[in-house]
C-alpha cells in the first residue's frame, strides 16, 4: 500500500473540512473494507481522517415509532438494540446475517452503506474495471460473474451491491443525513445508491468530504412483521447470492401493506416496487407471490453464469412472503440450534 498520513478528527466540522479541502484525503471509520482496499492498492488516498472519535454513535427510537441510527453506531450494537429488534426485526436480522461477529463489532453503519463492491476484478487492482479505473472496461461481463447482478446493470458494470442492511433500509424508505462542505443534506435512501449507468465509479450522490452523520428510519408499523432471508452457499460469513427484506400486513385475507427489497441480485439495494404494487390488495396466495416475483424479475439481464439468480430470486421472494404469511418467521432450522434456511 502507498504510504499514508493519518489524522484523528475530534469534531465533525473539522473532519469534513479536512477531507473536503483535500482530494487525496478520505474518511476512516471502522475500516473493515477500506483497510483491505488500501492494502490491495484499490484505494490510494494520501491521508486518512479517522472519524471514530466523533459524537455520531447513538441509536434512538423516535417518538413517532421510527429510528435514528448514528453513522458511527457499530453493526453489532444496532442489531442488539431492543428498539431495533422490536420495531424493525428485518434490520436486526440483516445485520446479524452479515459479515462475521468480529467485523460487526468494528464496522460502522455509515461505512456499511458506503462499502465497495466484492467484484473480484474491482478488487484485484490488475484487471480492467470501469468502477476502479473509468474507461478501462468491465472484466466481469465476460468473466466469472456467478455473484454478479442481474438487475440495474449496465454495459459498463454488473457488480452487485454487497450490503445486507442497506436492503432492509431501502425497504423501509430510510433517509441518509449528511454534513458536507455546503452544509447538511438529507438523501432518500433509494436516491443514495446510484445505478452504474455509464459512470459506475460514481456510487453515491455525495460530494468529496461529505460525511454521513445519521440514518433515519421512519415509523413503519408493517415492519414489526418482517424478516430478512439470505440465501448463500455457506451458513455464515458470505455475501448473499440472493436476499429478501420483506414486511407484510394482511387484513381479512388480503394484503394491506407490503415491503419487498432484494439484495445480492442488483447493482444497488433493490426496492421491489413492481412486486409491491402487484401485491397490495392481492390475496395471500402462493400464486400471487409467484406472479409478483416474476413481475419484479421481468427485466433481469443475467450472464450465463448467474442466470440461476433470476429463478432463485423469485423463489426467495415467494419463500419470504410465505414465511411472513404462515407465521413461520425465519423458518424451521435444519439442525437443532443452528441455522435458518439462510
Amino acid at each position: 500500500m502507498r504510504p499514508i498520513t493519518y489524522l484523528r478528527a475530534t469534531d465533525t466540522a473539522t473532519a469534513v473540512a479536512a477531507v473536503s479541502t483535500d482530494p487525496t484525503s478520505d474518511f476512516l471509520a471502522g475500516g473493515t473494507t477500506e483497510v483491505d482496499l488500501l492494502r490491495q492498492d484499490v484505494l490510494n488516498p494520501r491521508r486518512l481522517v479517522d472519524i471514530n472519535d466523533l459524537p455520531l454513535a447513538g441509536i434512538e427510537g423516535t417518538p413517532e415509532g421510527g429510528l435514528r441510527i448514528g453513522a458511527l453506531a457499530r453493526m453489532s450494537e444496532v442489531a442488539a438494540a431492543p428498539v431495533v429488534r422490536e420495531r424493525f426485526p428485518l434490520i436486526a436480522q440483516a445485520l446479524e446475517l452479515g459479515a462475521s461477529a468480529q467485523l460487526r463489532n468494528m464496522a460502522s453503519m455509515g461505512g456499511n452503506l458506503l462499502q465497495r463492491v466484492r467484484c473480484s476484478y474491482f478488487r484485484d487492482a490488475e484487471s480492467p474495471c470501469n468502477k476502479r479505473d473509468p474507461g478501462t472496461g468491465c472484466s466481469a461481463i465476460e468473466g466469472f460473474s456467478r455473484g454478479h447482478a442481474v438487475l440495474g446493470t449496465s454495459e459498463h458494470c454488473i457488480a452487485t451491491h454487497p450490503s445486507d442492511v442497506a436492503v432492509a433500509l431501502v425497504a423501509l424508505d430510510a433517509r441518509v443525513h449528511t454534513l458536507g462542505p455546503n452544509g447538511e443534506r438529507t438523501h432518500a435512501i433509494d436516491d443514495f445508491f446510484l445505478l452504474p449507468g455509464d459512470s459506475p465509479h460514481r456510487e453515491h450522490p455525495l460530494e468529496h468530504g461529505e460525511l454521513i452523520t445519521a440514518i433515519e428510519v421512519p415509523a413503519a408499523p408493517v415492519a414489526r412483521h418482517s424478516l430478512y432471508l439470505k440465501v448463500r452457499d455457506r451458513e455464515s460469513y458470505e455475501f448473499a447470492l440472493v436476499s429478501v427484506a420483506a414486511a407484510l400486513s394482511v387484513m381479512d385475507g388480503t394484503i394491506a401493506e407490503v415491503r419487498v427489497a432484494l439484495g445480492g441480485v442488483a447493482t444497488k439495494p433493490w426496492r421491489a416496487r413492481r412486486a409491491e404494487d402487484f401485491l397490495v390488495g392481492a390475496t395471500v396466495r402462493r400464486d400471487d407471490f409467484a406472479m409478483a416475483a416474476r413481475v419484479e424479475l421481468a427485466d433481469a439481464r443475467p450472464t450465463p453464469m448467474n442466470a440461476f439468480k433470476v429463478e432463485l430470486a423469485q423463489r426467495a421472494i415467494i419463500r419470504a412472503l410465505d414465511m411472513l404469511s404462515d407465521g413461520t418467521g425465519t423458518g424451521p432450522a435444519p439442525r437443532p440450534g443452528i441455522g435458518s434456511p439462510s
Binding site: P3, R118, D233, R234, Y237, R319, T328, P334, R335
Partner: protein, 745 residues
C-alpha cells in the same frame, strides 16, 4: 528388545504445545525476531503465458528503505535443478522442476518475476507496485475445456512414483459380461490448501553458513532442496521449523520461496523474512488440479463387479507430469476381475499441482463411491450390502493380503452409530418442513505410504530422571509433539511429565517429511526405537553393576515404571543409578528401517463414512446435519488428537462436497477468487455434529507400534457420502464437486 507397558500411549493427552500456542509464545517461522531484518516481497507475473520483456526498477529502487530489486537479470542462477520426487522419499523435493527468474519465460500467472527487498514489509510491498513490467503475452491454456484436445497419456505421474496406466484382465470383456452398467463423468473443481499460516521463510547467513526458519512438513526436505538449488553443502545449512500453522500438503514440497529468501538475504547482507500473501498462496505452493473422471462399472444382477474403468483428465504444468493418483485405490479395494485405470494430462499454464490432503484418494474415491451408489440404486441393493458383496481381503490389484483391514467392522459400527438400518432407499422419501432429508455412505481408504529410508531419533536421560527425546520433524498442527511424548514415555518407562519431545531442527536426527499420513507411524517407530534402546542400556548397566540392587538380575525380568527399574523385590531408579555412577546423562540413538517394498502384504487404512443432509430444494441449499465416520487406523496413539484429525478431515470433505472451488478465468489464466472471502471453506456454522468412531486393528507389519495414520483417511469418502445423501434427499445426481445452489434448482 524388552516390551513396553503402554500407559501413556492410548491416553487422550492434551497437546503439550497447547499453552504455548494459545498464549502466543510459540514462535512460528515468520515470528523470529532478528536484528536488522529485511523483508522480501515476491512479485508475480500478471500474465499466464508469454515473456517478460522488461522490468523498469528505477521508481521502486528510488523509494525510501528499498534495499534491492532482484529480477531475472540480477537473481543468481540456481546450481542445479533437482528432479521432482515426493518429499517422503527423503531426498531433495522441489515442488516443480522449474525455478523462477532463470529466464524470461512466463509459464503461469503469479510466477515470481521479481523480488523486492526493503527494510519494512510495507515498503517492499509498495515498491513492488512501482515496478513497470512489460510483457509479450500469448493466449494461455488453463481449463479442461481448453485442454481436452491437447491431452496425452503420461508414462508416469506424481513425481515418477505412479504409472500412467494400470490394468488387469480385460475391461471390455468385463463390461460385456455385466448385466448392468453405470457410467458417469465426475468433475472436481481445483482446490487450494489455504492453511491459516501462509508459507514463510526467514533466512540468515553467517559467513557461508545459512540458517533458515521455514514453515514446512520436513526441515530435512528444506535443507536438501535448498542445498541442491544454491549449491551450498548440507553441512552449512541448518533449517528450523518447530511449528507450522497447518499445511495440508502445501508445505510438503519445497517450493521456491525458501531458496528465494536465502538468495535475497545474501544479496542485501541482512536477514530476510519472506511471507507469501494469501493471494500468492494460490499460485506459489501448488494446488489440487481441476479434474474430470470418467467411471464405468459393470456388475452382475446380484451386485458383483465385473469391471471397473476409471479414466482421469487433468491439467499439469509445462514442465512436470503431475496428476494426483485418483485412479490408484479404485484398482485395489473391491474384488473385480477386470480393471483399467488411465491418466490423461495436458500442458497448462499453471504451476505443477501438488499434494493436497488425501491427494488422489479424496477425488478418486469421490467418483468411485458415487458410481457405486448409482449401481446400488440401479440394482436395488443397500449400498453397504453392495460393498460387502465386493469386499476383498486382498489387494485386488496385487492379490496380496492386507496387513490389517477392519473395513467390515467400520461398516458395521459406523452403520450402528449412524442409525443406517431401516433406511428407506427411495429418494425424496423424507421431509422436514421445507427440507428434504437424505442419507448416504461411502467407503474410505488411504494407503499406508511406503517409506524409502531409515528414520532416526535420539533419547537422552538426565541424572534427575527427566528425559529429552529428539527427532527433526516439525509439528505442523497434527499433534506429533504430543503423541511422541507419549511414545517416548512408554518406551523409557517414565511418566509423560518427565519427558520432553524436541523437534523441528535439522541438527536433530533425520526424519523424512511427514507426508502421506506417515508421520505418526514412522516417527513413533524411530522414537520408540531410541527410547527402548536407552531403557535397555540403563537396565544392562544396572544388572551389570555390583553396586546396584538389581545386580545379577536377568534384564528381561526388569520392568520400568515411573523411572524405577524393578525385578522381583529389588529396584533402583534411573536417577539413583546415574547419580551413583556419576553420569550426568545417558544417550541412545534409535533407528527404524521401514519394511522392504516387496513384503508379501498390501497396506491400506480403511474406514466408512456416513452423512445426513437437508436440502431445501426450492432454494437449492444443502446443509449437512450430521456425519459419522468409523475408521480403523491401526493403533491409536492419542484418541484426542486422532479424533481431531479425523474430524477435521471429515469437515474438509464437507467443504469439498459443497464449497471449495478455485475458479479459473480462461482468457487470462488467473484464479478469480484468490482470497478467503471468495474461496469458500466451511465455517463453524456449517459444521454439523461429527461422530468419530475409532476401531483399533492390530498391525505388526507396517511399523513397530502398528500405527497406520489418521491425517488423511478422515477426508476420503466424506464428499461421496454427502453427494450420495443429496441424491437420496432429492433424487438428483449431481456429478460434480462442489455441489452448488444452481446445480439443485
Amino acid at each position: 528388545m524388552t516390551a513396553t507397558i503402554p500407559s501413556a500411549i492410548g491416553q487422550p493427552l492434551d497437546r503439550v504445545d497447547g499453552p504455548a500456542k494459545v498464549s502466543g509464545s510459540a514462535r512460528y517461522s515468520a515470528e523470529i525476531p532478528l536484528p536488522a531484518m529485511a523483508y522480501a516481497y515476491v512479485v508475480g507475473s500478471r500474465i499466464a503465458a508469454g515473456r517478460v520483456t522488461g522490468i523498469d526498477t528505477s521508481a521502486a529502487l528510488a523509494e525510501e528503505g528499498v534495499l534491492a530489486v532482484l529480477t531475472q537479470q540480477t537473481l543468481p542462477k540456481i546450481a542445479e535443478q533437482p528432479p521432482l520426487v515426493p518429499s517422503l522419499a527423503g531426498t531433495a523435493a522441489p515442488g516443480q522442476t522449474f525455478f523462477p527468474m532463470q529466464d524470461d519465460t512466463v509459464h503461469y500467472a503469479g510466477q515470481p518475476i521479481a523480488l523486492v527487498v526493503a527494510d519494512t514489509w510495507e515498503r517492499a510491498q509498495y515498491a513492488a507496485r512501482l515496478l513497470r513490467v512489460s510483457y509479450a503475452e500469448t493466449p494461455p491454456v488453463t481449463t479442461l475445456d481448453q485442454g481436452r484436445d491437447l491431452s496425452y497419456e503420461p508414462e508416469r505421474i506424481f513425481g515418477g512414483w505412479i504409472p500412467g496406466r494400470i490394468e488387469r484382465g480385460n475391461v471390455e470383456a468385463g463390461l460385456r459380461e455385466a448385466d448392468v452398467r453405470v457410467e458417469g463423468t465426475y468433475t472436481y473443481a481445483a482446490n487450494n490448501h489455504n492453511p491459516i499460516e501462509p508459507s514463510c521463510t526467514t533466512a540468515q547467513w553467517d559467513g557461508d553458513n545459512l540458517l533458515l526458519y521455514d514453515a514446512t512438513q520436513g526441515v530435512n526436505a528444506t535443507q536438501m532442496t535448498v542445498s541442491r538449488l544454491l549449491g551450498v553443502p548440507m553441512s552449512k545449512i541448518r533449517v528450523i521449523g518447530h511449528y507450522a500453522g497447518g499445511s495440508f500438503g502445501c508445505k510438503a514440497m519445497i517450493h521456491a520461496h525458501p531458496t528465494l529468501a536465502a538468495m535475497a538475504a545474501r544479496a542485501v547482507g541482512r536477514p530476510v523474512k519472506l511471507v507469501l500473501t494469501r493471494e500468492q498462496m494460490f499460485t506459489s505452493v501448488g494446488h489440487r488440479e481441476e479434474q474430470e473422471q470418467h467411471l464405468t462399472l459393470g456388475a452382475t444382477r446380484d451386485g458383483r463387479l465385473t469391471a471397473i474403468r476409471h479414466h482421469k483428465l487433468s491439467p499439469t504444468s509445462h514442465f512436470d507430469d503431475w496428476a494426483e493418483p485418483s485412479v490408484g485405490v479404485s484398482s485395489q479395494i473391491y474384488a473385480c476381475p477386470h480393471y483399467e485405470g488411465v491418466y490423461r494430462l495436458f500442458r497448462a499454464n499453471t504451476m505443477t499441482p501438488t499434494f493436497m490432503r488425501a491427494p488422489g484418494e479424496a477425488s478418486g474415491m469421490y467418483a468411485l463411491e458415487c458410481a457405486l451408489d448409482e449401481l446400488a440404486h440401479e440394482l436395488g441393493i443397500d449400498p453397504i450390502e453392495l460393498r460387502l458383496r465386493n469386499h476383498t481381503d486382498v489387494d485386488a490389484m496385487t492379490g496380496l493380503p492386507w496387513s490389517s483391514s477392519g473395513l467390515k467392522e467400520c461398516y458395521e459400527r459406523g452403520a450402528q452409530r449412524f442409525g443406517w438400518a431401516g433406511r428407506d432407499p427411495r429418494p425424496g422419501s423424507r421431509r422436514d418442513g421445507n427440507w428434504l432429508i437424505g442419507t448416504g455412505m461411502a467407503t474410505a481408504c488411504y494407503p499406508v505410504a511406503p517409506l524409502a529410508n531409515p528414520q532416526r531419533a535420539r533419547a537422552r536421560l538426565y541424572a534427575d530422571g527427566t528425559a529429552v527425546v529428539q527427532a527433526a520433524t516439525p509439528d505442523f498442527g497434527t499433534g506429533v509433539a504430543t503423541v511422541m511424548t507419549q511414545v517416548a514415555a512408554d518406551g523409557l518407562g517414565l511418566s509423560v511429565d518427565r519427558c520432553r519431545f524436541e523437534n523441528g531442527d535439522t541438527d536433530l536426527p533425520n526424519i523424512a517429511a511427514a507426508v502421506g499420513s506417515a508421520g505418526a507411524g514412522m516417527i513413533s517407530a524411530a522414537v520408540h526405537s531410541a527410547a527402548t534402546a536407552l531403557r535397555s542400556q540403563l537396565i544392562r548397566s544396572a544388572v551389570g553393576d555390583p553396586g546396584s540392587p538389581l545386580h545379577g538380575a536377568d534384564p528381561v525380568d526388569v520392568v520400568v515404571r515411573d523411572g524405577v527399574m524393578t525385578a522381583g523385590t529389588a529396584s533402583e531408579s534411573y536417577s539413583d543409578l546415574l547419580r551413583r555412577t556419576f553420569q550426568p546423562d545417558v544417550e541412545a540413538a534409535g533407528q527404524w528401517n521401514p519394511p522392504a517394498h516387496d513384503i508379501p502384504y498390501a497396506t491400506m487404512t480403511f474406514g466408512a463414512q456416513f452423512a445426513e443432509v437437508a436440502v431445501d430444494a426450492e432454494l437449492g441449499l444443502v446443509r449437512v446435519r450430521r456425519m459419522t465416520g468409523a475408521f480403523a487406523p491401526g493403533r491409536v496413539l492419542n484418541p484426542k488428537t486422532a479424533r481431531s484429525q479425523l474430524m477435521g478431515g471429515m469437515l474438509w470433505g464437507l467443504g469439498q462436497a459443497l464449497l471449495e472451488a478455485n475458479h479459473m478465468q480462461p482468457d487470462t489464466g488467473r484464479w478469480v477468487n484468490a482470497s478467503l472471502g471468495e474461496y469458500l471453506v466451511p465455517v463453524n456454522a456449517d459444521a454439523p455434529d461429527v461422530d468419530v468412531e475409532l476401531i483399533e486393528v492390530e498391525d505388526d507389519i507396517v511399523n513397530p507400534l502398528g500405527v497406520k495414520g489418521v491425517g488423511e483417511i478422515g477426508q476420503v469418502g466424506a464428499a461421496a457420502a454427502i453427494a450420495n445423501a443429496v441424491h437420496h434427499a432429492t433424487g438428483r445426481r449431481v456429478r460434480k464437486l462442489p455441489i452448488m445452489i444452481e446445480d439443485l434448482l
